[in-house]
Amino acid sequence: MTTTDISAPAAGKARATPVPKRRPRREAQGPAWVFLSPWVLGALVLTLLPMAVSLYLSFTDYDLFNPPRWVGLRNYVQMFTEDPRYWRSVVTTLTYVVIAVPLQLALALGVALALKSMKRGKGFYRSAFYAPSLLGASMSIALVWRAIFNDGGTVDNLLGTGGWVNKPGWALLAVALLTVWQFGAPMVIFLAGLQQIPGELYEAAAVDGAGTWRQFLSVTVPMLSPVLFFNLVLQTIQAFQVFTPAFAIGAGKGGPADSTLVYTLYLYDRGFVASHMGYASAMAWVLLIVIGAVTAVLFRTSRSWVFYASEGDR
């Protein structure tokens, strides 16, 4: 069980020895696996096995009732070449990600900067701006959103644009704005990051004659870049998986005219409404690969703009 340890008594009756014995570096592993057992079981049965199965199913035709029928690359070919609704969902999702994520992060950073130097009321604002991040994920708020952006809703009355919810060009924007509205979560992380920046850096920059804007570019942005990167990766990954607001605003079907048919909504439609589990599995794998690729690209580009203080000057 243990490697040779000169300090260990020869016999197993260690308890009898009054001197506390020094533990060998690698102790008994049994207890560790007991602690880990729920996680290991979950990782095997609910993560790894399902991943393998969904990869297999993606090459089959499967309706949940009849045994899966091997069709090779058929699902993928159909997806990429014969299914306009699939491409519709891809374009919709990408549009949504490109609108929602930058807007949300810009707002989060802006408000965090405004709150940073505030002496009074910071805690209050921080909590109040954060509240939508918890409430906004609910069906309740998604329904409110649909009503506000509907014909005769508040936005219509204010801007006279008619109901966005019924306009193919605008419905997706309403969905995106619901995400942007939840900027409190990244804002709180930005704020925590801003507070880590040592004040001396700003003082030094001010001594060197740097104005507010220059200080922002030369001190805040580089020092904050790891947090910015973290928020960017997290929000992007989550944006690719948006579902509830699109479901509510698109009346459960991604309407009007498929303009809010985001990827996961179409996946749900193919798998659980139309019972094409094989096709939905193929969609899930493409999503997995795309999210992996986007994350990898973000990590790769991050080398040129994310600055880690521990690396020293570069």
């Binding site: 729920p38 990782a43 049965v45 969904s54 405004a114 954060y130 329904l143 939905a280 599995s281 899930a284």
Partner: protein, 288 residues
């Protein structure tokens, strides 16, 4: 901001600060408008819901809440509420137990393949749920567990939410090792030292886990949508779903009354734990 050089004028700083507060309050008003709208609409008489441009109702229409309390699709609201509570409560229990167990092993114990397994655990945080969703559904379907609460609760007992494992690992790593070492010298095994020493000290992280699990499970829509189809088993969130396709405005008042009721536990949690929530969020990077 501090380097205003206008001679003899000290005002700009104060003025800038006031402008900042005015700006923040204005932004806050816009942001909180949907919540005010929800509350007001839930109390509006039917004819004012769409026709009137006023935010405030002419009189408070409590009957909306009466109708909402009658429930949806012949299922009483108490049923929906207790279903939601059961699922969220089970998820909280499961996550707190299983994630703290796994976290302790990762943070404090040595075992073979710890490095690679830890890396794998972190990677699953980024794994889109959809990649495992369909086979999980098939497994639960084969076990005859679709349309029960097991698919919603059981995974939480198997530490599948790696977010929380990671959160607790980070917290445990910050605890002084000396405590356990002293206990070990006194003959404390890893189990006793986990329950008696580490777990009590980890309470802040466990509470954060519990609160976020509750709120996320309560709000969750997708999983409930695919696993539950018997109206008797519906949660509040799923009951609200039946309003998604309906476009009639007659049920607007009761629908938003139900929405308010469905949001109430989250609002209460938020008011009670806001400091903890916001700080837990900042330190862990969890999304609300």
């Amino acid at each position: 901001m501090t380097t205003t050089t206008t001679p003899g004028v000290r005002k700009p700083v104060a003025r800038g600060r006031i402008a900042l507060h005015v700006g923040c309050l204005a932004a806050l008003l816009v942001m909180l408008y949907p919540l005010a709208w929800l509350l007001a609409t839930s109390l509006k008489p039917a004819e004012e819901v769409i026709a009137s441009l006023n935010l405030l109702p002419s009189h408070l229409e409590w009957s909306n809440y009466k109708t909402a309390l009658d429930g949806v699709n012949d299922v009483s609201i108490w049923r929906l509420l207790s279903n939601s509570l059961l699922i969220a409560g089970g998820a909280v229990l499961g996550n707190v137990i299983s994630c703290s167990l796994a976290a302790y092993a990762f943070a404090r114990l040595r075992f073979r393949f710890r490095g690679p397994l830890f890396a794998f655990m972190i990677a699953t945080i980024m794994l889109p749920h959809h990649a495992v969703l369909i086979p999980q559904y098939i497994i639960f379907n084969q076990l005859g567990l679709v349309n029960t609460y097991w698919p919603l609760v059981l995974p939480k007992f198997l530490a599948t939410e790696a977010f929380f494992v990671f959160l607790i690992v980070q917290f445990m790593r910050g605890l002084p090792r000396e405590l356990e070492e002293a206990a070990r010298i006194d003959g404390c095994g890893p189990f006793r030292s986990f329950f008696k020493i580490v777990l009590p000290l980890t309470r802040p992280a466990l509470i954060t886990t519990a609160i976020f699990t509750f709120i996320w499970t309560w709000n969750d829509f997708f999983t409930q949508l695919i696993y539950l189809f018997d109206p008797d088993k519906f949660t509040l969130t799923l009951a609200l779903r039946s309003f998604v396709d309906a476009s009639s405005t007659s049920a607007f008042g009761p629908m938003f009354a139900l929405s308010v009721i469905a949001l109430l536990p989250i609002v209460l949690f938020f008011l009670a734990f806001q400091r903890l929530l916001v700080e837990g969020m900042a330190s862990s990077g969890l999304k609300g």
